[in-house]
């Protein structure tokens, strides 16, 4: 509060009011303690920009949830509607392309932040000193975020999504014994189809986000239990450095970083909207699938493991690396945190990271050197650009339930509407608030005809009037009603 307004009686009154409201709320909820608990977290050695990545991840995750919920207002998860609904979002709905871009680029941002968060944690040795569960919950969160990226990628059901997922799910079948089962489980059958979209949608929207919430809560809880590790010279178990509270300085750093991220996503979404290609065509034998950048190293890696060796490349080596990575705090137990004093762990980590980057670069270079691939990729890019430039064409709703009728039934159907039977009964035989259901009456044509001529008492009470028409019309109408099933 500044000094000019401090003396003003109106402002003073308002502050007292809000103070009273705050006290009322606090006695019932304990919100003040909660706020204190959240904001007073001591950070040994004070706030630093190096610590912003975790909060950045949380912030982008929130943005993904919000944009995701809004996208679900229009999206339909099925093989025949998924693509047209995303196209509708991109081409027709106000701000649709922008929000979808923020969501789609957001997944890349999550993975980039994840890498930065892990690298910072690794270099700072922040997993040391009773922080094994913090690290393990983080590993699970990383797997879940990669799962979100993988499942979300299929949902637009364009060429790129379809073929990238076809390759991705095929990889699972390399797992010994249960591989084929896993693949079928993911796809909802042997091939990719509408059941695959349903499964990926459920994983992307219900299952994985729920798990992320649970593990994020665990991650933050054990983080607060162990306390912030502080700089590399700090003792990770018994901090000695002068602490600074989380609020305000670190909060400001975190929010400034998150705001910069969101602005970057916004600029990307505005100036370089995320692409949407033509609808998936499984029959396209020419298509060259390329995964998103974060799966490119794995994609390249698989090329070195042909045939029977594939199980080593796809299952054994990644499992060993993942296990070593997850067990880091159990294997590297010393309290030394300075990276230059921990050559083995930091060396292995850097090597793995550099290896992944190298694989990505090689994959990209191979594509650029192969004229056939280059040509096909250019063709695919052009197809995508043409598709985006084309005007949106609404999907023709299929006209079901209109069978070809015999002339007699056709006449009966025409009478059904010209005599205004359809004012109370639905033309397909369904009931309405005003009239009973007509399909499946289980009565013969003659029985129906006599009911039309002389309705029963309960029919009259419901508003039915006798149908006074020439006999041949009555015959056609009753034949039509009898035919409704």
């Amino acid at each position: 509060m500044n000094h000019e307004t401090r003396g003003s009686p109106e402002v003073l009154g308002a502050v007292q009011q809000s103070g009273r409201l705050m006290r009322w709320l606090n006695r019932r909820t304990g919100v003040r303690n909660l706020l204190h608990e959240g904001l007073a977290e001591p950070i040994p050695g004070g706030a630093r920009f190096a610590y912003v990545f975790g909060s950045g991840l949380l912030f982008i995750f929130l943005s993904q949830i919000i944009t995701g919920i809004f996208l679900a207002l229009y999206y339909v998860p099925s093989a025949d509607h998924a693509h047209v609904t995303v196209e509708y979002i991109v081409k027709e709905v106000a701000a649709g392309s922008f929000l979808r871009s923020i969501h789609a680029y957001g997944s890349s941002a999550m993975i980039l932040l994840l890498l930065l968060h892990i690298t910072q944690t690794f270099l700072y040795g922040s997993y040391k000193g009773r922080r094994e569960l913090l690290w393990l919950s983080g590993c699970i969160l990383m797997a879940l975020v990669l799962g979100m990226a993988f499942t979300g990628y299929l949902l637009p059901w364009d060429q790129k999504a379809y073929f990238a997922t076809a390759v991705g799910t095929n990889m699972a079948s390399e797992v010994p014994l249960v591989g084929d089962f896993i693949k079928r489980m993911m796809r909802g059958g042997a091939g990719m189809g509408t059941l695959t979209i349903s499964r990926f949608f459920v994983a992307h929207v219900f299952l994985i986000p729920g798990l992320i919430f649970a593990f994020m809560a665990a991650h933050i809880y054990v983080f607060r239990k162990a306390g912030a590790a502080g700089p590399i010279h700090e003792n990770p178990v018994r901090p000695r450095m002068q602490p600074q509270p989380f609020y305000p300085r670190q909060v400001l750093y975190d929010l400034a970083f998150s705001a910069a991220l969101l602005i970057a996503l916004g600029l990307l979404g505005h100036y370089l909207p995320f692409e949407l290609g033509p609808k998936a065509d499984p029959a396209d034998a020419q298509y060259v699938p390329r995964p998103e950048w974060y799966y490119l190293p794995m994609f390249q890696w698989l090329k070195y493991w042909p045939g029977a060796k594939a199980v080593i490349g796809i299952v054994v080596i990644p499992s060993v690396i993942a296990s070593l990575f997850a067990l880091t705090p159990f294997l590297d137990r010393g309290l030394e945190r300075r990276p230059w004093k921990r050559p083995i762990s930091v060396g292995l980590y850097s090597l793995t990271l550099l290896g992944l980057i190298a694989l990505g670069v090689i994959s990209n270079r191979n594509d650029r050197r192969d004229p056939a691939v280059l040509q096909q990729l250019a063709r695919q890019e052009k197809a995508t650009a043409d598709f985006i430039a084309a005007k949106f064409e609404p999907e023709e709703a299929s006209r079901t339930g209109v069978p070809v009728l015999s002339p007699e039934l056709e006449k009966g159907k025409a009478l059904f509407s010209s005599l205004a039977c359809n004012a109370c009964h639905r033309p397909d035989g369904g009931g309405t608030a005003a009239g009973a259901k007509l399909k499946g009456l289980g009565k013969s044509q003659d029985q129906i005809k006599s009911l039309l001529l002389t309705p029963t008492k309960s029919m009259v009470a419901g508003g039915m009037t006798p149908v006074q028409q020439p006999d041949h019309d009555l015959a056609a109408l009753s034949a039509y009603v009898a035919s409704l099933k």
Binding site: M1, N2, V15, S18, G19, M22, R23, R32, N33, L35, H36, L39, A40, S63, I66, T67, F70, L73, Y74, H81, V84, T85, E87, Y88, E92, V93, A94, A95, G96, F98, L99, I102, Q242, P243, Q244, P245, Y247, P248, R249, V251, L252, L255, A256, S258, A259, L262, I263, G266, P394, E395, E396, A397, A414, S417, S418, L419, A420, N422, A423, T465
Partner: protein
């Protein structure tokens, strides 16, 4: 910021002096507000899109060749296919209209929906009248109001002739009002 509020807050730790803290707090509020707006405005526009977009982009439905239409003996009932936009899809429904002539002999197309409560009105050849089966509204062969509870005559539809075919723009009208008002 209220000092009471801060009594329980951040007591064990060294805190920045109040003016500095409130400056940072204000910075947070302004910065946070600006960033939220960046996302909120498109989110609101996105969610409200179907409410403000014009979805009643009604198309012309073909009734048939003019040479085949002869309403001189009385109104002729015709079934037409009406295409409508429903979000990302296009639906086709069947509606019935009457082709008739007005007092000056001009072709006129009537909606078969009763302006009273929306029943389908049949043409009764023997009585030479439209009589609504629901509540007995009576209309002449060109749709003019004759009697019954209906507040106005039957609704005429916009037509055009193109390459010898008669086209109609099918629309719905508000019921129970004395004037013909197109519904959104």
């Amino acid at each position: 910021m209220n000092t009471n509020q801060n009594e329980g807050l951040l007591t064990q730790l060294t805190l920045p002096s109040p003016p500095r803290r409130s400056f940072l707090g204000a910075l947070l509020v302004v910065g946070g507000g600006a960033v939220s707006a960046l996302l909120t405005v498109p989110l609101v526009r996105f969610a409200l899109h179907p409410i403000f977009v014009k979805t009643t982009e009604t198309s012309w439905s073909d009734i048939g060749a003019l040479s085949d239409l002869d309403p001189s003996a009385g109104p002729v009932r015709k079934a037409i296919q009406v295409e409508q936009r429903d979000g990302w899809r296009k639906t086709t429904s069947e509606q019935s209209v009457y082709v008739t002539r007005d007092a000056s002999g001009q072709l006129r197309v009537l909606s078969s929906v009763c302006p009273h409560l929306g029943c389908t009105v049949p043409w009764l050849e023997e009585k030479k009248e439209f009589i609504c089966p629901c509540h007995g509204g009576i209309f002449s062969s060109d749709g003019t109001y004759r009697g019954g509870p209906a507040p106005r005559g039957m609704d005429w539809l916009e037509t055009k002739v193109d390459a010898g075919h008669l086209y109609v723009r099918y629309q719905y009208f508000r019921q129970l009002v004395p004037t013909r008002e197109v519904m959104g």
